[in-house]
Amino acid sequence: MSETKSFTQQVETHSEIAARFQDLHPPFDRQAAVTESNRCLYCFDAPCTAACPTHIDVPAFIKKIASGNVMGSARTILDANILGASCSRACPVDVLCEGSCVMHRYNKQPIEIAKLQRFAMESLYDKGIPHPFTAAPDTGLRVALIGSGPASLACAAELRRRGIAATIYEASPLPGGLNTYGIAEYKLPLAESLREIDMLSDLGVDFRFNTRVDAAMLAELGNTHDAVFLGMGLGAIHKLGIPGEQLPGVTNALDFIAGYKSGSILTAPTRVAVIGAGNTAIDAANAAVRLGATEVYMVYRRGPEKMSAFAFEYEHARQEGVNFLWYAQPSAILGSTQVESLTLTRLSVTEDDSLVPQRDDTFPLPVDLIILAIGQATHTSFLGDTITLDRGRILTDRATGQTSNPKFFAGGDCTNGGREVVDAVADGKRSGIAMAAWLEASHAQ
């Protein structure tokens, strides 16, 4: 990285975005971190560690903060999770480490694990020292990785630590996938994601940007490399399939979030409708509020109890001032040259829990912007029939990430249909370790 610009240097955070998307959870200072870390009971075989998909040794890193060994704390985190800083900000810890803290059964607040992890990681990165892990001597083995999201990054790190060349192919100009472009800026700023990936460059991971891998290129990569890791995530957000969807003023949550994070979207119009009720939909709705929209509606076919967003995300959206329209389904988008109104049809629920549109019960919702967040399609058709899929997702052995084609491993959203950064990191880590073992075994023969 010495001659070229670091990833962080290639972007500039727009001051407007920085001001409107300040930290949702402000960081600890040293004394607060030490006080909080001293609250940790130091459980044996700790539930927080078990709940973390990457199995970070949480009590160990927390005790190191308490003892003043903050660099050791960060190394303990990174050893289990190469994106320790990103995960400390992006993880839904209420349902992971902090949700499993024994303090819940002790009438006490759970330990603020995420903030402690962030403290340790930022202490390390702020020192500006090289990554604590180094690449092992070159084995001559080469692996191609498709996509530069958390799964591939974690896989590449494990490979480099074992002396295996790792080349990541990425369609975008910058690395990180949804870790860089897809997480609400008040949780994980784009620049923070890049800063963590910059550190990974010290391990000698090779990036090929602006390179979309198609079937032909995949075949070639398979022939020229000892193994391939598939970590390309999911594809485009589903369409509604209703009239007017092509009108200007209809966008999708991923483009909207990536747009404001990279500074190409700085405002939202007055009235915004977000279609869907997942975590991405909530991120988009909150962003619309912070970008200046005064009326933001989330439209969902069912009630709050069925939404796929976490309960704390729903609560957060309510606090941001987002309105919710339950049991409603878009049936048309109206407008002459631009979106003017969304037609919604009410839905009723039958005894067997299916939804029935009430054709004669429709109502207009005047809006200036419609953001679709109704799930992403898979992006696996370019794999052809070389690898076994299940409903478009790549089937893998969970412990190793190996696919039906032994030379191909996979992890992250393209295998699980879309979960968290930490799940992708865990997949990538397991795959990297298993891939190295498999390669070693194949070459020993």
Partner: protein, 459 residues
């Protein structure tokens, strides 16, 4: 039956409003302070040690923080009063004039000459002090000049000076003992032989509290250098209690005793009284929180006395003294075992790791195994956990998302193998939840037998 307990008591004939005295230290440095302390409710004060004025250094204190809490132990290298003797004595006279019911003890330390001691005793008593405390304990600075603990560590010196003081004193003479000695009873006995009326214990313990890992300089730092100091505060209470017990259970040492060492609340004070103290002295807790702490010391002790049915301090003073015995007098056939109350267990498994690594390997994680397994090691447990694949639950898809985190999973609740449990208490000590692990009596069917009895020569 309701009773109206009182804290009024006497110490060696001196009437006290309550047993709470300020120890000879910075909180009792001058008359203005002592009067504010009396206003707050302190029954007495032992004046900051009076002698030829000294020059102090800067800085003077350092402390031990523990688990995020400040000043679990405090260390000082401050010397005796830096104010002229005349000024201190004039202020004592003024305080006694304004607060006749409160106890003022003059703490004294002068060079080891008979006439010098006679002179200071005379002047302190003329000023109106209710008693005299001989500072034979200060472990730093003054000891290099042949005073303080340099006296207290040599029983003959302590005996000789106490004798000089008794030649002149008309008020009770209290000898303050240093803990920095192999057997504190040696000096206590010497003081008693010389006619001392009372004792106070303990003075501070020689200490180096810590070293700055950047500069490699110890604390407290005086221009890059330090010196050993005197340690006090909550950390020293167990040491002090043991020494109070040693003195008070020794007929050749026992005298009315003012207990000192880590007392910060009424509970601490009651413990010193239960081991035979007649009053208690407090310093560190006041330096930390101010004179106001005495309100709860009095309130809490009165409440406890009312609940226990004690009317005066003499009703319970010394009651625990006979309960501390030599090890050889303990019953070898008394047996307890640990019981884990599953309904209270939060699943931290600290008892498990403590028993395996720090005790006798008799707590196990096998409740959900097909059969009890006392061979499964901690390493096997963690290895199994590390192989498990965990995923972030999605509310709509994963039932686990609705699982309660308020109920401890059975597999996380350890099991005590009572057959092998030695009843050491460790698990109940590390358990963070009150009453979750209780130590319960098991009838061995054996008659009580002490080591002394077992090894007694047969008649």
């Amino acid at each position: 039956m309701p009773n109206n307990p009182t804290l009024e008591t006497t110490f060696c004939g001196i009437k006290c409003l309550n047993p709470f005295w300020l120890a000879s230290a910075p909180p009792a440095n001058c008359g203005e302070q002592v009067m504010r302390a009396f206003d707050a409710g302190w029954g007495g004060a032992v004046w900051k040690t009076i002698g030829e004025p000294i020059t102090n250094v800067s800085s003077r204190y350092s402390s031990i923080d523990w688990d995020g809490r400040r000043m679990m132990g405090l260390n000082n290298i401050e010397l005796i009063s830096d104010r002229p003797i005349d000024v201190n004595l004039a202020e004592i006279a003024e305080v006694k004039r304004r607060y006749p019911s409160n106890v003022v003890i003059a703490s004294l330390m002068v060079e080891s000459r008979r006439e010098t001691w006679h002179d200071i005793v005379q002047r302190a008593e003329d000023a109106g002090a209710d008693g005299l405390e001989l500072n034979f304990g200060c472990p730093h600075g003054m000891s290099e000049r042949g005073m303080g603990s340099a006296v207290g560590q040599v029983p003959e010196y302590a005996e000789r000076i106490t004798g000089w003081v008794k030649e002149r004193a008309r008020t009770p003479v209290i000898v303050k003992l240093t803990p920095n000695i192999t057997d504190i009873r040696a000096t206590a006995r010497a003081a008693k032989r010389a006619g001392a009326d009372a004792l106070s214990a303990i003075n501070t313990i020689n200490s180096i509290t810590g070293i700055d890992l950047d500069t490699l300089e110890p604390n407290p730092n005086v221009g890059g250098l330090s010196s050993h100091g005197g340690y006090c505060g909550p950390a020293v209470k167990p040491i002090a209690l043991n020494m109070v017990h040693q003195v008070m259970s020794d007929p050749l040492s026992a005298l009315p005793l003012s207990g000192i060492g880590g007392i910060g609340n009424w509970r601490d004070a009651v413990e010193f009284l239960l081991l035979g103290s007649s009053s208690v002295q407090v310093c560190t807790a006041v330096m930390h929180y101010g004179y106001r702490i005495v309100e709860d010391m009095a309130d809490g002790m009165l409440q406890w006395m009312a609940e226990k049915g004690y009317s005066t301090i003499d009703d319970f003073r010394g009651l625990s003294l006979p309960k501390v015995r030599e090890w050889k007098d303990l019953d070898l056939n008394y047996k307890i075992v640990a019981r884990i109350h599953e309904d209270l267990c939060i699943g931290c498994q600290l008892c498990y790791t403590a028993c395996w690594d720090g005790a006798h390997q008799c707590i196990h994680l096998d409740r959900t195994l097909p059969a009890p397994d006392i061979t499964r090691t901690p390493a096997q447990v963690t290895a199994e956990s590390s192989r498990r694949i965990a995923m972030t639950p999605i509310p709509k898809l994963d039932l686990t998302a609705t699982a309660s985190n308020t109920v401890t999973p059975l597999e996380r609740i350890p099991r005590v193998d009572e057959h092998h449990c030695v009843g050491c208490n460790l698990c109940s000590l590390v358990c963070p939840v009150d009453n979750c692990i209780t130590m319960e009596r098991v009838d061995t069917g054996l008659a009580p037998e002490t080591w002394a009895e077992r090894t007694a020569t047969p008649v």
